[in-house]
Symmetry: C2
Subunit: 649 residues, 2 copies
């Protein structure tokens, strides 16, 4: 008796990390993830800002430019609206920051839109948020990488022609990095983020200084304003459309509320403060960039990015300061794309745990599942990049609508939460489905601020939907309900299965088995089939060996040798005049199964050569799989492979 | 006791055809092949000509034109070489016909290049022939379809722009037809073949009649001669290159020798006579077509095919005779492509049976294997068509070199065979590996005629290799050795396995099993896990149920319910603080396996939901596969799925 035998209803504690052996794949893409380890580290505010702010801060690189590209339809005169629109966006940022600060304290375990919607608004809202987020992660990659490449080709205009290839290369690079699962230290994130923040700050401050000193120049040799035909009038529609494009600056604001658990204790306080710092930085720098963009006469263009035009004007030439500014902008955009690669499998796992996606997506630490997600995300992003020719301007309409739908659902869910808390008694605590509801006497103020947030983001979603409907929002409006439908079909499947499988008390389900027959497939008399025979003998004494006589000469030899090695068990030869293999077996097995009683079982034992090398595995057919597939609807047949490892031979 | 129990060392005779249930896939691509049935029919000479001659006869459609496209580099004056070259090709055809007639009598079971090479020249020659043939089947599809489309667009020049799409459509059409496995009657082949033969004969005879009557016109409004830059001189190299292109007329001559078994008895006589008839027809018509092509001033062009120019000149306009001629040319070309779809899986099966390809390719009647071959062939042909823009002229350099390499090997093999027979005594009979060697007093004549055939085809292979090296032969010269390498690696793998697995007399291989432990994976206490428990009990009494506690609350509930339903077997709960599923299991199992004796065995019983619907199957993870993969190198573990069919719920 070993220690394993003495345990009864015992709990087995995991004492060592599981380390599978190195395979070729392992060498290529690294050892399996160690999810367990990653949870041990926590980070402070400074690193937290670097890790979670790249998505939000990087959007500064394209939001002003995208706003201007819309306004350009009415000519450069319309650029006078840049500052009013930017001020609106910064106002909105303030509202969102306050709203999300409240979410952080309410959901200290992480309060993404999906969780908040599921906790307060129910399954449909949660599925909608999830669908919006999953598509957005793909678009975050496509938009951030495309903008990153635009920064790069601003410095090297000769490479503009290769922007699609460059963007594909960057996506593949991030994919490989994520498949390998390198351990990112806080420093990896901190350096580019702080270099970016510093260089943009220096640019803005130096620019404003020149402005007050009266010697701020204008962009020398700006790119051409791309516009066909006569200019349109400045309409409210145009301004709303420009505003919608500008709100892309707000994407990524929710990132911190997703990642609260990564922060050092007191984590909600630290996360909340980091959010405030990030919002102040983003708002200030956005105002500065927009104002200087306006004053230096930057022309929005896909050929030379906004930041590049601004930097070379303020720094007077393409010098080292210019290169650092544009280079760090490119890096932070690539980091923003990288965050989507972390968020995507995490959200999928949450959805799977709740039964909206196949359960196996919830197997954290399974590299297979994780890798498929990464490859899927990369493939979709590349398809978008190729289809839209790495044009940020053409990708934007698809992008931000999903972000604002999830913002709206999240804020509305929070408002509903405060409403519910308002009805509780003082000191009362209620354990909800996901979170804990505690009475809060500021509930009314909090409800109002989340309510205003919900209202504003809803309005922006609508503006987006109306102004950019034909530019791509229509596609999102088809895709999202489709995804919600898929999620709910999966959900209802799992629920049906669960209810049908339940055991009612008193009733005994499957009958006890009274007889166990074994069929042993024998392709030849060799080590592997004898091993399988040994195994079959421990299952039952009712064994029939089966051999399909594809080659009559060989099968005679096999019959002779079976006399010696078959331990006296019967061998049945199945004729196969036309050299078929599976069909004679199936005819025999199905004939047998028709005669088998409901409380009998038949096990088909299949000797199987196995190898770690996929190339070698392909050389040895999996007869068991073919049989399983053919016999799927017979309830009392079990197919067992007895593996014979040929790697050691 | 059923009838199955009373059989001991008995032979089970197949009494009924195996008919699996109809699935969605079955409805789409038809019921499984009935290989058995197809072997019962045999055909006479008239139908045999139709079935096997399409490849050879159809090459008439492009060989003259391809020859001229090469000569065109030296201007239309070079077209004077058409007839001398055609005469050489017809001479070569005579030699090949005599050679293959001998092969037919020597290999009445079918004497393709692979079989003849394997029987007489050994494995390396056989693998080379096989590699050449497998690539040639792909090229036969690409070339025949491209030429078929060229006939079509000659009639409808507006569709020339869509030739690549048209060609892809034809390949996909033939693919679907072959996937469905329609039963082709002899008639399906006979009608287009005989219409083609009649209309080409009428055209040639009527053309010659006009020529002698002196009123043969020249091509009205011929296509432009595509040629950039100045014309080159008429060099030997150019003429040899044109000759090489023209020899594509000979492709397909070997088809009858592959399909002897399809003929009525006396089959070798019938097959041999069919070959002679085909060769005479091909030679005569080829001479006629080439001569009239020369005399009517046809301009070789990818825009309007040779046959189209000829037909509209001889028949004076694009009338019904023209349409029938060009239409039947198109049909016979498509039929030629279709023959490759039958040859490809047949040769693969032969290679698999001999251990040069994965064994499962030899499972005849397995639609899966067959279908994969068809889809692979179609995909490769489509890739070639897209890459070479459905241009016969650009595909030809890749094509015929493989054909002539296999011709050479086959002829050389036959010559060696006669040499060996020449050393035998009169009346002596020797049973070789594949064929029977019988003394033949004409051995010297036969050796010489096959030897001359081998020499000629070798020379042509060399001419091809030299003149068309940069046009594509280089690729074939890289691909063929690569394929031969793959074949030989597979072959040596199977041989190694076979020798290592053999049981030496007296020695007992695997130890008898003294103890059988069962681990039962339990994700919940429901019908499926109870069914698996019932099964586990018939295997062994040494059962431990394992549950991974991903959700602590749920696992408490499971422990309670197990008390009621677990029949008293122990349940071990594996802690999983980080919600990992497989890792805690693997840690437990590997720890157990390390303590398990060499003559003990552990069966892991995995309850598995199964469904015929792939979409539903995806929702239920195959934990067994993951475990199998992780535990592949532990010799004494067997993983058994106990299926629970959820389609009936």
């Amino acid at each position: 008796m070993t220690e394993f035998d003495n345990k009864n209803d015992s709990v087995f504690h995991q004492t060592s990390e599981y380390r599978p052996s190195r395979s070729l794949l392992t060498m290529l893409i690294g050892k399996p993830l160690e999810t367990a380890e990653s949870s041990h580290q926590t980070i402070g505010k400074a690193v937290g800002l670097a890790v979670f702010a790249s998505d939000a801060l990087s959007s500064m690189a394209y939001s002003t430019q995208e706003m201007m590209l819309i306004l350009a339809a009415a000519g450069t005169a319309a650029f006078g609206y840049i500052m009013p629109i930017t001020l609106c966006i910064v106002g909105l940022l303030t509202i969102l920051a306050i709203s999300y600060e409240q979410t952080i304290h309410a959901y200290p375990e992480g309060g993404g839109a999906y969780i908040v919607a599921r906790d307060n608004l129910g399954d449909t809202a949660a599925m909608t948020a999830a669908a919006a987020l999953l598509t957005d992660y793909i678009l975050t990659v496509a938009v951030s990488i495309s903008s990153g490449v635009a920064q790069f080709t601003s410095v090297f205009p000769d490479l503009y022609h290769y922007r699609v290839l460059l963007a594909m290369g960057f996506v593949l690079f991030i994919m490989v990095v994520n498949l390998r699962g390198v351990k990112e230290s806080g420093l990896t994130f901190a350096i580019p983020t702080y270099v970016f923040l510093s260089s943009i700050s220096i640019m803005v401050i130096y620019g404003l200084f020149q402005l007050f000193a009266g010697d701020l120049g204008t962009v020398v040799d700006p790119p051409e304003l791309e516009h066909d035909g006569p200019f349109s009038a400045i309409t409210a529609f145009l301004i709303l459309k420009a505003f919608a494009s500008g709100t892309t600056a707000l994407t990524g604001v929710e990132a911190i509320s997703n990642g609260i658990t990564a922060f050092k204790e007191p984590r909600t306080k630290n996360a909340g403060e980091t959010l405030i710092i990030m919002s102040v930085l983003l708002g200030t720098l956005l105002l500065g960039v927009s104002y200087l963009t306006f004053r230096t006469g930057v022309i929005p263009s896909e050929v030379e990015a906004n930041i590049s035009q601004l930097a070379r004007t303020i720094f007077h030439s393409k010098n080292i300061l210019y290169l650092v500014t544009v280079g760090s902008t490119m890096l932070i955009l690539i980091m923003a794309a990288n965050t989507a690669f972390a968020d995507y499998p995490r959200l999928s796992a949450m959805l799977a745990r709740d039964g909206f996606l196949p359960r196996q997506f919830s197997w954290r630490g399974s590299r297979l599942v994780f890798s498929r997600g990464i490859v899927f995300l990369s493939t979709m992003a590349i398809l978008l990049i190729v289809f839209f020719q790495a044009s940020v301007n053409r990708l934007i309409p698809l992008y931000a609508v999903g972000v604002f739908v999830s913002f709206t659902l999240s804020q509305f869910g929070m408002a509903k939460r405060w409403h519910r808390i308002g009805k509780m008694k003082e000191g009362e605590v209620f354990h909800g489905h996901i979170s804990i509801f505690k009475y809060d006497r500021h509930w009314l103020f909090k409800m109002l601020s989340n309510g205003i947030g919900a209202f504003c983001t809803l309005i922006i979603s609508l503006i987006f939907g109306v102004t950019k409907f034909i530019d791509g929002v229509w596609f999102v409006l088809i895709l999202t309900p489709f995804l919600v439908l898929i999620f709910s079909l999966i959900h209802s499947h799992y629920r049906t299965i669960a209810s049908r499988l339940s055991l009612s008390d008193g009733e005994k389900s499957s009958p006890h088995i009274t007889r166990h027959r074994v069929l042993l497939l024998v392709s030849g008399v060799h080590q592997s089939s004898i091993k399988a025979l040994r195994y079959a003998r421990t299952i039952s004494d009712d064994i029939t060996a089966l051999h399909v006589a594809v080659d009559p000469e060989e099968s005679e030899k096999i019959q002779e040798r079976w006399q010696e090695w078959g331990d006296g068990y019967r061998l049945t030869i199945l004729d196969s005049p036309y050299r078929l293999l599976l069909e004679p077996l199936l005819i025999y097995i199905e004939a047998l199964l028709k005669k088998v009683d409901v409380n009998e079982v038949v096990t088909i034992v299949v000797p199987q050569f196995v190898s770690k090398l996929p190339a070698i595995s392909l050389l040895h057919a999996k007869a068991a799989d073919s049989l399983r597939n053919a016999l799927i609807h017979y309830p009392n047949v079990v197919i067992t492979e007895v593996p014979y490892d040929i790697d050691d031979l």
